[in-house]
Symmetry: C2
Subunit: 408 residues, 2 copies
């Protein structure tokens, strides 16, 4: 007879998966999947062979003998590239390699948060970050944004309100460069103002810079951590979006005192070493040129998606062209509920991120959606957006016109 | 001015790391590090190149397009090898690849445990498992052991006592095959009795089989999960000890209803895919022959350590020869406190696991220690055990004789 576990599970587990994974839908516009043709398989293969033959025996040691902070040549590369690209100077002891930036989020959240704590974030923000914060019982407050990212006037006002109520937030979570989902870039002036405000209210900053390398328009500003003189900024980054998400390699950069406090909570025996070894070797010789190529491919696909949106949704779909990254953040007319649209679309093979899952207050995302363009082919983007517009028209009456032709 | 985080950290964090990793001590007898010469670097290199060139572009997809349960060929290999070696039949949908078996422990613990819950385990057990359970606020109860592993008479008695007090444990955590640290193997008769008792008291079993492939003496018994007809057993295993701990690849095998409930709590974007791909390809053609070779090397090193213990500690060090694995569990005379000994030894370059950290009730481990033999060379084993005996004599007066010569 089958054993009944039910009453033994702890309370408040998330809903169980309905069925094993059965493949992606035909038009998959969600998630961080990357352009498959751009994965440098041949070069990675050569490098994996070389690095394994040369020093593969260090895999016999947890942390490959370099300790729990990660493979030393990878940390050296991270230090070098952050210095060059983000004006961020750091010592290898101030870097902790993580299993993707998702683990970085978990480790930093775990350092600060108990149920009831308050955290600030951009009003529209990475769904995986917002859901993690809420699952931990945090009170997440969204800060308004404009075309330059988080609005400092609103941040100041929210912090002043909280202070009047005796509430000191645990940190400000921000994605300043190629913000997810808006694609905006926080200006250097705002970064400096953010630090001034954080100083005034005595708040740390958690800077998530996962997409910063995929900026294709304008200069990359200095990291917020690079501009800070107080050590209040905990920075994280990732290689998942730059090489391939199958590589689970991210990192935290923070003062040693913070790394020291995180280390005993990272109880995983170290992050995967082969990936670190291959990435370090690849990055040392190929990184800039690979990222430039990838950015070009993404920029092209972004344009294809923007064109398809314009053709099939017309002025019904409002969006700002992203300055980099892998997604477009779209506002539809008020009458559209994108959570409903997402269900109808999925039934016909089009998957989208409904806005409610990508904002702090679900109501602000009701008529918004995020569409990712890195993984689908250009033809899939064209066909999928066309189909999405048809479904949207059928379900909601908008868009009224597509491809300059009134819909029946 | 440096920002002061102190009061913002959550309460009850573990103590911060004192300093960045500064290398292993000369005689490193702790942890799961493996024999470096046995890592098949050349073969792994060839395989990594082949698999990346052939299908590296799937790394562009989270879960390489095979979903959150892991790379399909690896799950197919796990299903095949468990069927052959442990009489355990399972479908690929009943397998969840994890980032080492440490993540498997975290996921299963998270499924069941709240502070105050009760868990049973062998009295001497894996330090990383016991510390995790205690950190979650679980009340861990140790079950007595003998040369055949966990004693069923004691288990029955403990469960009856708990039942009288209205306590139903959340699960029994057991390492039945090459138990850590004792090296014992639970007999098939006891496995059947364990299932009978679990049925009687309506308790699930969490079977940790990480070392089972490294058995070099006697037949490997069927997995407890293989003998069960109720689906109450959650099984986990690992490749870390078989290929290299730098590969963070473990797995859970359980009914789909359990996997389904764990999946939404595994929020890491999938475990490292390159390692899974390389391991699957390596395992398909090389696994048995590699494990046989590794077992031979470990058995030799185990004998060297046993001989060194006999030479330098004489009858002062009591231990049973392990039937496999990478460690020897040693009992010293009552007057020795191995936690003190470990400190004195570390100061002279010898690191050991004091028994108190490898048991449920620290008092039962006071005069015990675990020594790992996989990673150090034979000469390091000989020299390190000799030095450890000298330090032990100096600190505690025992052993009185070493190498048949009375110590001064």
């Amino acid at each position: 007879m089958t054993f009944e576990f039910g009453s033994l599970f702890r309370p408040r587990l998330p809903a169980a998966a309905a069925a094993p994974f059965a493949g992606y839908p035909k038009y998959y516009f969600v998630g961080g999947n990357n352009d498959a043709d751009t994965v440098p398989t041949k070069k990675l293969g050569e490098i994996a062979k070389a690095v394994l033959e040369r020093e593969g025996s260090i895999l016999a040691l947890y942390g490959v003998g370099h300790g729990p902070q990660g493979y030393l040549p990878l940390r050296q590369f991270i230090a070098k590239t952050l210095h060059q690209k983000a004006a961020l100077a750091c010592h290898v002891d101030e870097i902790l390699v993580t299993s993707g930036s998702l683990q970085a989020l978990d480790l930093v959240n775990n350092l600060f948060l108990e149920p009831g704590d308050t955290v600030l974030a951009e009003e529209a923000s990475y769904g995986g970050a917002v859901s993690r914060l809420k699952a931990l019982g945090a009170n997440v407050i969204g800060i308004d944004m404009d075309e330059d990212g988080m609005r400092m006037d609103h941040l100041r006002q929210v912090l002043a309100d909280l202070k009047r109520h005796g509430i000191r937030p645990k940190f400000i979570y921000t994605i300043p460069t190629v913000q997810n989902p808006s694609g905006t870039v926080l200006t250097t002036a705002r970064r400096l103002e953010l630090l001034e405000i954080a100083e005034l209210f005595e708040i740390p900053i958690f800077e998530d810079d996962c997409y910063a390398d995929l900026l294709w328009e304008g200069e990359r500003p200095p990291a917020i951590r690079a501009l800070d003189k107080t050590g209040r900024v905990i920075y994280c980054g990732s290689f998942s979006k730059l090489i391939a998400p199958g590589f689970r390699v991210g990192y935290i950069v923070a003062d040693w005192r913070i790394i020291a406090q995180i280390l005993p909570t990272k109880k995983d025996g170290g992050s995967g070493a082969l990936e670190q070894m291959v990435l370090a070797e690849f990055a040392a010789s190929e990184f800039d040129q690979h990222v430039a190529k990838l950015s070009g491919v993404l920029r092209d696909k972004c344009q294809v998606m923007a064109d398809a949106l314009e053709e099939h949704f017309g002025t019904t779909a409002e969006f700002a062209m992203p300055k980099g990254g892998i997604f477009i953040w779209i506002t539809l007319p008020d009458i559209v509920n994108t959570s409903e649209l997402a269900k109808a679309a999925l039934a016909e093979g089009v998957e989208i991120n409904p806005g409610a899952e990508w904002v702090v207050d679900p109501a602000t995302g009701k008529n918004r959606m995020r569409l990712c363009f890195a993984s689908p082919s250009k033809q899939q983007i064209r066909d999928g957006v066309k189909l999405l517009a048809e479904i949207c028209h059928r379900e909601t009456g908008v868009p009224v016109r597509s491809a300059n032709v009134a819909r029946p």
